[in-house]
Amino acid sequence: MEQKKHWQSFGELTNSEGYQESAKDEFKEDLPVWEDDKGLFSAATPRRDFLKYLGFSTAAAMVAASCEVPVRKIIPFANKPEDIIPGVANYYATTYIQDGEAVSVLAKVRDGRPIKLEGNELSPITQGGTSARVQSSVLDLYDTARLRFPTIDGKETTFENIDAEISKAINGLGNAPIVILTTSIASPSSKDVINQFIAKHPGSRQVTYDAISYSGMLLANEATYGKRAIPSYKFDNAKVIVSLGADFLGTWLSPIEFAKQYAKNRKINEKAPTLSKHYQFESIASLTGSNADERYLHRPSETGAVAVALLNAINGQAINLSDAALKEGVKKAAADLVANKGNALVVSGSNDVNVQIIVNAINEALQSGGKTIDWSSTYNTYQGIDTDFARLVEDMNAGNVGALLIVGANPAYTWFDSARFVAGMKKLKFAVSFNPKNDETTQLCKYVIPNHHFLESWGDAEPKTGYYSLMQPTIYPLFKTRQWQDSLLKWSGASTDYLGYLKTFWTAKAGGETGWDKAIQDGVLNPATVPTPIGAAFNSGAVNGALAAIAAYKKGGKVEVVLYQKVSMGAGQTASNPWLQEMPDPVTRATWDNYIMISPAMAKTLLGIDLNIAREADNYEVTPAKPVVKVTANGKSYSLPVLIIPGVHPDTVGIALGYGRTKEIGKAADGVGQNVFPLASMSGATLSFVATDATVEKTGATYPVALMQTHNVYTTPQGTRTEVMKELTLKEFKKDPEEIRNDRQKELAPFGGLKNFEKEGTIYPYYDKPGIHWGMNIDLNACTGCGACVIACHAENNVPVVGKPEVLRFHDMHWLRIDRYYSGNPDNPKVVFQPMMCQQCDNAPCENVCPVGATNHSSEGLNQMAYNRCIGTRYCANNCPYKVRRFNWADYTGADSFPDNQRGIVNDVVLMMNDGLTRMVLNPDVTVRSRGVMEKCSFCVQRLQEGKLKAKKESRPLISGEDNKWDVKTACQQACPTDAIVFGNVNDSHSAITITRKENELRLFKSLEQLHVLPNVTYLAKVRNVDEVAEKAEG
């Protein structure tokens, strides 16, 4: 098939020498060779010495091994609880809470330890979806940096003591008010607890502070709808979606929910193909932008102007934008929106009240209320108003605040003017921190009573009004910690603890004891009937003011800075999580750092790197050392390495928030990146994460960035990615739906065609596939690249963390990676994400090169890996066309008996992952691999075996997706918020995988199919909703 040219890196685009070199070898290291080349006898270890060592080590091993077998103990329960069977996992419904975000989850508890989180399918909000951060949060429970006991002035104390001291301190406050500083609290019972405390201590108040604030939206909605709230969005009702910089698939508001909704209209029914149309207007490359059908770039300072232009275009008025392409885009988007009135949705990621008022006006003009915007239920996850907190900081500095009780908030790190906040802290009589770690703010507090992890807590949450999610402990508290609600209740003189309080609260609400039990068991309480979407009365009074204000906005300077959130890091709450630190960012494919994201155009003007020239692309790309650039804005300067990312506005740079933490947060966070929160500023009533007037300058220095972009390069004929990944436009697909299938047929025609390819395309014999045959299908149209599957795979399969130095050496261990492909204009390309893991080939090239038979094929179609047979020749990885095999270069997991395999080889983060506490997260059903063995995706074989066993016990065939019932789901499939991954038994005609493959046979393809490796993973080609027919590949 003539396909458009796809490329992963600039080297590939220009076919540079460096690219050709990297595509040639699986492993980047050469084999170790003798220093002087005089032959074996003069080598460091000559033959005789070698034989001596061999003899000695064999004898030593015999002696060591024949010593007494270690005596092991079995310690049963003293009293076995009835519902616990050792070795059988129990699932408890609970709620993931991080700042305001609340996601209903099921915690898998194995022998008393929570080891994995799954989405709760009973929740109508997330519908069983999760994100990378949710998946990783189970590791935070076992974080070695958690505070382990209450402290006064940094010294350990008891709860009785600290309670007495604080009560005394509160009594000594006199009239000075107490302020409870929290992040957004979506928990109705916790709010009651706070109110009870406030009632007991008159004059005290609560201030809500969100590091990433949505006050712009809240205030805009108050101005135009009279409600300080954020309505529900229904992306599934939208045929046209326009996002003005809102990363709604990655980080904005409720990404799991939106991804689920979004995917509904991105999946194609082949009989009547339709797709929603997604326009993205943004300044830097975001995850959501990468998924858009059409993407337009503008300066951050033009955000308001673009919104106004869109409003004008919808109202049929003239548009005033200087950039011709942008103007064209706005016109096009407006035309589409108008044509789909009532089925259109416009969202904006801006925290500017005026911009949000305009966006509200646009949605009003499009009649979105009651259709794609639903006011029947509003979000409680973000309630913070920036000016409230700014006023508190001033009050503190003026000495008007007596004491601060801090729940979750960390303004000493996240507030742009943290110096002022720190100064205010010093003027308090005392401060109490309930934060789980000794973070930047907690360090300033006299009293510290660390909070439980959410997996140890009781609680509730109401992420959206009317939708409740309950929380129950899944493990006895690991440390001497206490829930902050308990402390507040105690200090307000309440007679019950928080559990008793919660129970009374919910027994009344949920309908008695049985209602409470059911709610705790289900984890959710939903409205009895799904409310029909309703709109709200729009008051256009504020619009003119907003228009005038936007017209008066200053023009941006030479360069503008956007502070963005990464899918993995958010505002930095998860910085100590090694899984997330090592997760490649979907857009940049970088790990372990923040950096300055710049466009290829700026690279040329600022650094003199012209990526269209092969040699220069190599210079930039081949070594991990990236040029360091100094960014100055708001009087502050940062020197950070540069990553050249296509799709960034030429005059804009992007820097991720959430980095630059210290060792108190955790070893994984220590010294990683820099904190750029100080570049934010108050603009009017709200916080702005944009610096519109900045300068950048070259420093000449370099800094290594652990980028995975070029780690796994395929040797396909230059530029023709069609063998690995296929993409087409909706127009093409409608015109010629058979295109992909015909191409496959044409390609395979000499070897028996599609039908007989398996038997005739090879000299190997054909094998029967009785019983079960596993298969997976991934819909590239539904995959947003969010990376939830990557972390789920880590948690399920004990995939090791290797640390930055090892990633730099191409030693990353991800079993599942998400490849990013560009096509089209290098300044604003189209992006395709393709999850790539072991394809479990039925004719696997890795199997027949293994000299010891450590990898071979199962009758169920699995490409098996027997770790204990593997001697580490790495032939298999060399022979794998998909580059999905991973080699344990060092003892990352502490599985070996010899500490020398770790000392000096792996860094502190990896050692921290081997701590006894952290190792509690390991899945006991999966071998922890030792040094020198190969590993790879196993299709979660432990889950397959468990599912089969369940079916056998019930004496029935295995069910994989029939009537949406599942005996087995792989970890990636279960984590996926868009259901892009389907897995099951292909021999079963009722299974979801068989049905999916049958219903989507026109878009179905196998990666590198012509090699006759017969992969068991199939993909559905990406279809993009654009009008033009794709550019054809060169030559």
Partner: protein, 417 residues
């Protein structure tokens, strides 16, 4: 070779043991004892009053046998009928509710009552089932073959010497010049033969030793309490699953917790059976061992027990698999319907348990090659349509059936992942 024979022996033994355990539907007198131990013994003794009344002569106390059966099965329902004797009994025992046993059939209750009526206090209990479990003694010919080989070797050696002497004599007679005879210990042929034989024996022993590293067959560690499986599972016929309840549901066959022991030992606080001997042949006082349990349980006989004060017992693990092996008990017990004794040996005859099987990979694989899956009985295997057809067509030997190996049970990733 060795594992084969051992497996056969174990299988044979296991089958005998199965019979002795009588998992069938017929209820025998000896089941009365086992049923009594499982259901009643935690609250009742036959000859003394515990939580509930002593049961000796219970059938005489109840005029109507039918009422007694109803009472045993569901005492709460029977109380409501207003039966005066039942209500009197209820009040007499401070309204302590008796457990409900809806699962007991009439035949089973009959067996329990028969056991009670046949009970003779302090009489030595016959070791029920022991006789049935005796496996057929297998003749071992290894020694015989060894002696034969040795004798033959000596004969061959002597004949060769005779041959060479005769040859020499004929040579002398015929006047052929022959070299001086070399004594056999300097004869190069002999030296070569001996070297080769020694190398083979040495190599065999080394390999065998190396393979045996880390294997613990016959491992019989001393346990914190002298717990006799023979007394519990053998003589008293307690079902394995009463204590090791996880074996049917989990990968682990769990060691029972203290509260499970106390279910029975609340009542049973002295050992009255045959004398017990430990592995070294020293006599063990059973009653003292029960007292050790009470120490862990924090229980004083005659006083109410607070289960929350119990401490766990640190048993020594006997059957160990390497960390890279996944083994699931329930797969074998519940799905494969394999008896415990097939792998664990005649546990019901052991006092302290020892490891009987090799627990090596070869041992596992050999069993997987020959053992049939529950192909027709388990609905899971209905998807193997081809094999069902082959069975019907006689392409698969129906006596051998569909083995674990045929459905992929010897593949790496069935046990290693």
């Amino acid at each position: 070779m060795i594992p084969h024979r051992m497996i056969i022996r174990t299988v044979v033994a296991g089958i005998f043991v199965c019979f002795s355990f009588a998992f069938g539907i017929t209820v025998k007198a000896q089941d009365g004892k086992s049923l009594f131990n499982q259901n009643c013994a935690s609250c009742h003794a036959i000859d003394k009053k515990l939580v509930g009344p002593a049961l000796m002569g219970v059938e005489d106390r109840w005029p109507n046998k039918k009422h007694l059966y109803e009472w045993i099965r569901n005492n709460q329902a029977f109380l409501k009928t207003g039966d005066p004797y039942a209500n009197k009994l209820y009040l007499e025992y401070n309204k302590t509710a008796m457990n409900l046993f809806p699962q007991l059939t009439d035949a089973e209750i009959g067996a329990i009552l028969k056991y009670i009526s046949d009970y003779k206090p302090a009489a030595a209990q016959p070791a029920a089932g022991a006789a049935a479990g005796e496996p057929a003694a297998e003749s071992d010919n290894t020694l015989l073959f060894g002696i034969l080989t040795l004798i033959l070797a000596v004969i061959a050696f002597t004949l060769m010497q005779v041959n060479s002497n005769l040859k020499k004599l004929t040579d002398v007679k015929e006047g052929v010049d022959s070299p001086e005879p070399v004594p056999f210990w300097r004869n190069k042929t002999y030296i070569a033969i001996v070297t080769v034989i020694l190398f083979l024996i040495g190599g065999y022993l080394t390999t065998k030793g190396a393979i045996g590293l880390g294997r613990n067959i016959n491992y019989e560690p001393k346990q914190p309490i002298f717990y006799s499986h023979k007394v519990h599972a053998g003589i008293n016929q307690i079902n394995c699953l009463y204590c090791h309840s996880g074996a049917m549901d989990s990968k682990y066959s769990n060691v029972p917790s203290v509260n499970v022991c106390m279910n029975c030992h609340m009542a049973i606080n002295e050992y009255k059976g045959e004398k017990l001997y430990n592995a070294d042949g020293e006599e063990v006082n059973g009653t003292e061992e029960i007292k050790k349990l009470y120490e862990y349980a924090n229980f004083t006989p005659g006083q109410p027990w607070d289960a929350s004060k119990a401490k766990p017992i640190e048993w020594t693990k006997i059957h160990m698999l390497p960390a890279h092996v996944y083994f699931n008990h329930s797969q074998h017990t519940r799905v494969g319907k394999i008896q415990c004794q097939i792998c664990h040996g005649e546990i019901n005859k052991m006092d302290e348990v020892k490891q009987v099987s090799e627990l090596s990979m070869g041992w596992c694989i050999n069993c997987h090659r020959t053992t049939q899956v529950q192909f027709k009985d388990n609905g899971f295997y209905s998807i193997y349509e081809k094999y069902h057809q082959d069975l019907k067509d006689g392409k698969i030997d129906s006596t051998k059936g569909v083995t674990v190996e045929m459905i992929g049970g010897t593949e790496c990733q069935k046990c290693h992942y």
